[in-house]
Symmetry: C2
Subunit: 583 residues, 2 copies
C-alpha cells in the first residue's frame, strides 16, 4: 500500500511518483491549495493538493486531523523560502495525484499541542503514542533492546526463558500472587526477578544466559516504579566479578556508541566506602562536583557537643560540603536547606560563610564560629580549600544520617547552583558490606545468594559484620542502572548466610530447599548482573518518567485507564479458583 | 577460567596447552590411567590423567560424576584405534597437567542413562538439563529465537512489550487472575495473547510490531499445552493477507534453512473447504498421501439409508478413503478402526476390499456390496482409482462427523501403513468460514477481531453464515504452527461482528469499549499473525513434547516439582489483597 515511508521521501526522489500511507498530522488551507503534513513512524512529509485535480481535491477537502490516508503523488522541490531545514523531507513536497481515505477520525479527545493529564494520556494511549516525540521514544527502546540482543548473541549468550508462574521469590518486595485452580488454596507468584532460575541454568551448564524479561513487584509506586518492569538479566559461569563487569560495561559502552554516538570511556571502579565518604551515596552522581569532606578529627575536642559528640562516636560522622558562591545564600535559603536535610533526619545544618579568607576568622560568618579555635578554623579552610564567596555546610550525627542528608543536599545544591555537568558519568560501585546490621539482626545488602569476598564459611560466620560482598552496581549519572554479584555456589556457605540472616534450617529448607539441593551436585562458580531496561532507556532518551518509555504503563495506583484493568472478576471464575473476596 | 570450550579442542590445538572448565561426564580407569570425559555446553573432551604426575593424579582420583572441575593440559593425538569419528574432539585428548576441583557432587538422584519419570526429571531439572540431548534442545531454542529476531529486525519490525497485568482477554480460554491490592476485590488477568494491544500499537502508528512473548491459559493440560507458553507475535499495518503470509513464510523458510539446512520451498495455499474435503482437517498433514474422496453423488439413490440419507442431506457427507494394501486387514483390525472412528462420533465404518478388480463385482468383498448397483461400483472404483489389494473405508453421516472421523482415521492409517513421508510439508490454510453456526448461535472461528473477505458490514449482517474470514493458518506436518488474520479496522464492522456473536451493546461497551473507541480515530488497515514458538521448536528438534523445549515446564497438573509451586500463601498477604480461601 506504500512505495515509501514518509520520512524517506527526499531530494533523491525528485520527479518520481511515490505512494505513502499514514495519518493527517496537520492540515492548512493556503492560497487555494490544501497542505497536509502526512505522518508515519518515520516522520512527516508535506503533501500539496491542487484544485486543478477537482475530484481528488474534493476528497482532500474532507481530510481532518488523524484521518488515515493513502496518497500517491509526484515529488517536487519546495518553492524557495518554504524549505524546512530541520526536517529530513524539508526540501521536498508531494504533489498529490490520488488519495484514498482509509479511515476517518472523529475530533480528538486529546490535543497533541496542549498539556494533557497523565490520566487522559493513558486512557487514549493509542493517540498519545502517535505524538512523534512519544512514538520515537518507544522506537528508540525497541532499538536498544535489539542492540542489547545483538551484543549478547555475539558474546555467546543464550536467551533462555524462565517461568512467569513460579514460587514466591525472596527479593523482599511484595509478590503478585496468582491463585491456582488445579491446586486450590495454593498460589503462584509472579517473579520479582529470575534470580534462582538463572542460577539453576548455570548449574545446568548453559554457561552464558541472558533474557530481557518482565519482573513484578507489588509495591506502592513512585515516579520510576511500575508493577511490571523489564530487566536485562545476565548470568555467567566461570567468570570473575571483574570479567562480568568488563563484559557488561562493554555492552553499555557499545550501546551508547551505537544509539547516541557517545563514548562512555572506561568506567571508574569505586568502593562503597569511598562512595559514601565522598558523596554520601552508594550511587553517586559524578556529574556533580560537590563532595563531602570529613572533619571529625578537627572538631572532636571543641566545646560544641553537636559536633564533638558524633566526632567521638565510632558510629558518628562530621562532614562538610563546600559550595562555591554559596556565601550569597540568604538566611531564608539556608533555612530551606535546613528543612530539606531534616527530611533525612538531620537535626540542623550548621553553616559558615567565607567572605574574606585573607582576613582570617574576621572574614568568616557563622553561628558556630565561636566554638571553633582559630587553629581549627585555619585547618578546616585549608582542608576544604575554601575561597572567598564559598559557604561550608556541616552535618554531624550518626554516620548514616550524615551521609544520607548531605548526600541528598549535595544533589540539591548541584541543581540549585547549576553545577551539574552535561556529560555522561558512569561508574562501578563495589565492595559493599555483606550485611547491614540493625537492631533486628542482619539483613543482606544485595540478596542472600551473594558471595562474600575472600572469606570461608567459618570466617563469615565468625564475623558477619566485617564481610564485604562480591557485588557490583553500575551507576550512571546518579542512577543505579544495573546490579549484580558473584553468587554463592557452595552449599555450606549458602547455609551459613541463611543462618546469619536468621533463616533457620526449617525455613531454609521450605523456601530454598531446591537451591540447597542443587548446590550439592557440582554447582559451578557463577556470577551475573541485571539491568533495569526501563530506567536505562529513560536515561538515554532524557525522559523524566519510565512511563514515557513503556508503551502501556500503569498509573501510580497500578491501574490502566485504557483497558480499565484491574476489573471485576466473574464470580464463577473465583469459585473455580476456590477463593472469594473478603466481605 | 578457561582458554577453550571442551568442544573447541580439535587437531588444530595439537601440542598446545589449553584450560577447560566443566563437568565430569564419565570416568573410566584403564591400564593405570584415569580417563575423564569432560563436558560443557559445547560437547565432550577426553582427558587423560597419568600417574607420573602424582599430586595431580591423587586429586583426579577423587573425581566422581558431575564434579565441577578446571583442567589445564596438553592436547595430543589419541592413539590409533581410539579415535572417535562421531565426536568433534574425537581425534584428540587432553593430557592433564593441573586440576582444580571447583565443586564436588553427591551421587546423582537421577541416572542419565536410564529412563527416569517425568516427575523426577522436572524435580531435578538442573541435572536433567545437563544431559547433552536436553542441553542441545534448549540451546537450539535460543538460537531459533535469535534467528527470528534477526529476521524481524531486518524487516523493520519493532520489538514492543505489551502488559502482562491486564484485563481479561476474550480468547475464550480461562484466564489466570491476579488479585489487585490497590483496588481490592478487582483482578488483573494474565494475557492469553497480546491481541488487542498489538492492534492498538498499529493504531499508534508503529507500523510493524513483533514480540516473543509469554501467554497464559488456565486450561486442563495435554501433552502439547502448558499454562504459560510463548508466542512469536506479529502485527503489521497497510499490508494485505498475502503480504503477511509472504513475509512470515519467508521468516520460517529462512529459519529452516539456517537452523536445519532444509529448504521448505514455496508453501501451497489451500482453502479451508478443500482441506476439509480432501483431508477432513483444517490442518492437513500433507506428508500423508491418503485423501478423502466424496461419493455422495454416487450413492444418493441406492437402497441403503446409511449412505443415501447423508448423501441427500445438505449437511451430510459420504466419503471414502482408499488404503493401498489395505485388503490384507483382518476382521479384527477393521473392528479396531471402527472403534477408533467411533471416538469421533462415527456410527460405523463400512468397508470394501478390492481383491481382483478385473473380476468386477466378484473381485470385491464387502458387507455393503449388496446395496450397490454394479454401475455405481464401477464408477466408485474408477473415482478412487482402486487397485488390487486396496481397501475402501466409508464414512457417511453429518459432514462434520465424517470429516473429523475420516480425517483422524487418515492420520492413523498413514502411521499404521507407514505411508508418511519424512519430508517437511508446510502449507497455508485460508478462506475459513467467518462463523461457526451452532444451536446456541454463531461463534467466531478465529477471534472476534478478524475481518471478513469482501463484504460490507451490512452484507455481513444480512448473511453471516456465508461469510469467509480473511484469516490464515500456517500448518506444518499437520501441526498448526501459526495463525493470523486481517483485522477489522472499521468501528461499524466491529460492532456488527459483536452483534452476530450475541455480544450486546452494553457488553461490547463493557468489554471492548476501548477498542471501539480506538477505532474511531483513523485506525489503519492492519493484519498479523502469531506463531507458537514452543510447538515450532518441538517440531524442529523432533521432540515429542513441548516440555522438552522449555527449560522449566510445569507438569500436566500445572505444578512445578522443582520449586514446589504453586505454594501456600502467607495469610497476611491474602489479607492485604482482600481475598480469602473458600472454606
Amino acid at each position: 500500500m506504500r512505495s515509501h515511508y514518509c520520512g524517506q521521501v527526499t531530494e533523491q526522489e525528485l520527479g518520481n511518483s511515490v505512494t505513502v500511507a499514514g495519518w493527517v498530522h496537520k492540515r492548512r488551507d493556503l492560497g487555494g491549495l490544501i497542505f497536509v503534513d502526512m505522518r508515519d513512524r518515520t516522520g512527516l512529509l508535506q503533501v500539496v493538493f491542487d484544485p486543478d485535480f477537482a475530484d481528488m481535491f474534493a476528497e482532500a477537502n474532507k481530510l481532518r486531523q488523524e484521518f488515515c490516508v493513502q496518497i500517491t503523488g509526484e515529488v517536487r522541490a519546495r518553492p524557495d523560502g518554504q524549505v524546512n531545514a530541520r526536517m529530513t523531507t524539508g526540501k521536498v513536497e508531494l504533489l498529490a495525484k490520488e488519495i484514498t481515505i482509509l479511515n476517518r477520525a472523529a475530533p480528538l479527545p486529546i490535543d497533541y499541542n496542549q498539556q494533557v493529564s497523565e490520566e487522559q494520556r493513558l486512557r487514549y494511549r493509542y493517540l498519545d503514542l502517535r505524538r512523534p516525540d512519544m512514538n520515537e521514544k518507544i522506537q528508540f527502546r525497541a532499538r536498544v533492546a535489539s542492540a542489547v540482543r545483538r551484543f549478547m548473541d555475539s558474546q555467546g549468550f543464550l536467551d533462555i526463558e524462565t517461568p512467569m508462574l513460579t514460587r514466591a521469590t525472596p527479593e523482599g518486595a511484595r509478590d503478585y500472587l496468582v491463585p491456582s485452580r488445579t491446586h486450590k488454596g495454593k498460589f503462584f507468584a509472579l517473579p520479582q526477578s529470575p534470580q534462582l532460575f538463572k542460577q539453576l541454568l548455570m548449574m545446568s551448564g548453559f554457561d552464558r544466559y541472558y533474557q530481557i524479561v518482565k519482573c513484578f513487584r507489588d509495591e506502592d509506586l513512585r515516579a520510576d516504579r511500575q508493577p511490571e518492569f523489564t530487566q536485562i538479566d545476565i548470568e555467567t559461569t566461570f567468570m570473575s566479578a571483574a570479567q562480568v563487569r568488563e563484559l557488561t560495561e562493554s555492552m553499555v559502552r557499545s550501546l551508547f556508541l551505537e544509539m547516541l554516538e557517545v563514548d562512555l570511556g572506561d568506567f571508574p571502579v569505586m568502593a562503597y566506602s569511598e562512595a559514601m565518604r565522598r558523596f554520601g551515596s552508594d550511587k553517586p552522581d559524578l556529574r556533580n562536583p560537590l563532595e563531602l569532606v570529613d572533619v571529625a578529627d578537627l572538631v572532636k575536642d571543641i566545646d560544641f557537643k553537636v559536633f564533638s559528640g558524633p566526632a567521638n562516636d565510632p558510629k558518628g560522622r562530621v562532614a562538610v560540603i563546600k559550595v562555591p558562591g554559596g556565601a550569597s545564600l540568604s538566611r531564608k535559603q539556608i533555612d530551606e536547606y535546613t528543612a530539606f536535610v531534616g527530611i533525612y533526619g538531620a537535626k540542623g545544618l550548621a553553616w559558615m560563610k567565607v567572605n574574606d579568607r585573607a582576613a582570617g576568622v574576621d572574614g568568616l560568618q557563622s553561628p558556630v564560629l565561636k566554638f571553633f579555635p582559630d587553629a581549627v578554623v585555619t585547618e578546616l579552610l585549608e582542608r576544604v580549600d575554601a575561597h572567598d564567596g564559598d559557604i561550608l555546610l556541616f552535618g554531624a550525627d550518626k554516620a548514616t544520617v550524615v551521609s544520607e542528608a548531605l548526600g541528598a543536599l549535595r544533589l540539591k545544591l548541584g541543581q540549585d547552583f547549576d553545577l551539574v555537568s552535561s556529560e555522561w558519568k558512569p561508574l562501578w560501585v563495589v565492595d559493599f558490606p555483606m550485611f547491614e546490621e540493625t537492631d533486628e539482626g542482619f539483613f543482606a545488602l544485595h540478596h542472600p545468594f551473594t558471595a562474600p569476598i575472600g572469606v570461608s564459611a567459618d570466617e563469615l560466620r565468625a564475623n558477619p559484620g566485617a564481610a564485604l560482598s562480591n557485588a557490583y552496581d553500575m551507576v550512571l549519572n546518579g542512577v543505579e542502572v544495573g546490579g549484580g554479584s558473584v553468587r554463592i555456589h557452595d552449599n555450606a556457605m549458602q547455609q551459613v548466610v541463611f543462618g546469619i540472616l536468621g533463616i533457620d534450617e526449617a525455613e531454609a529448607q521450605e523456601k530454598f530447599g531446591f537451591l540447597l539441593e542443587a548446590l550439592k551436585y557440582g554447582a559451578p562458580p557463577h556470577a551475573g548482573l541485571a539491568f533495569g531496561l526501563d530506567r536505562l532507556v529513560m536515561l538515554m532518551v532524557g525522559a523524566s518518567s519510565i512511563r514515557d518509555v513503556i508503551a502501556f504503563p500503569k498509573t501510580t495506583t497500578a491501574q490502566c485507564p485504557l483497558t480499565d484493568a484491574p476489573g471485576v472478576a466473574n464470580p464463577a471464575a473465583l469459585d473455580e479458583l476456590g477463593i472469594q473476596i473478603k466481605p
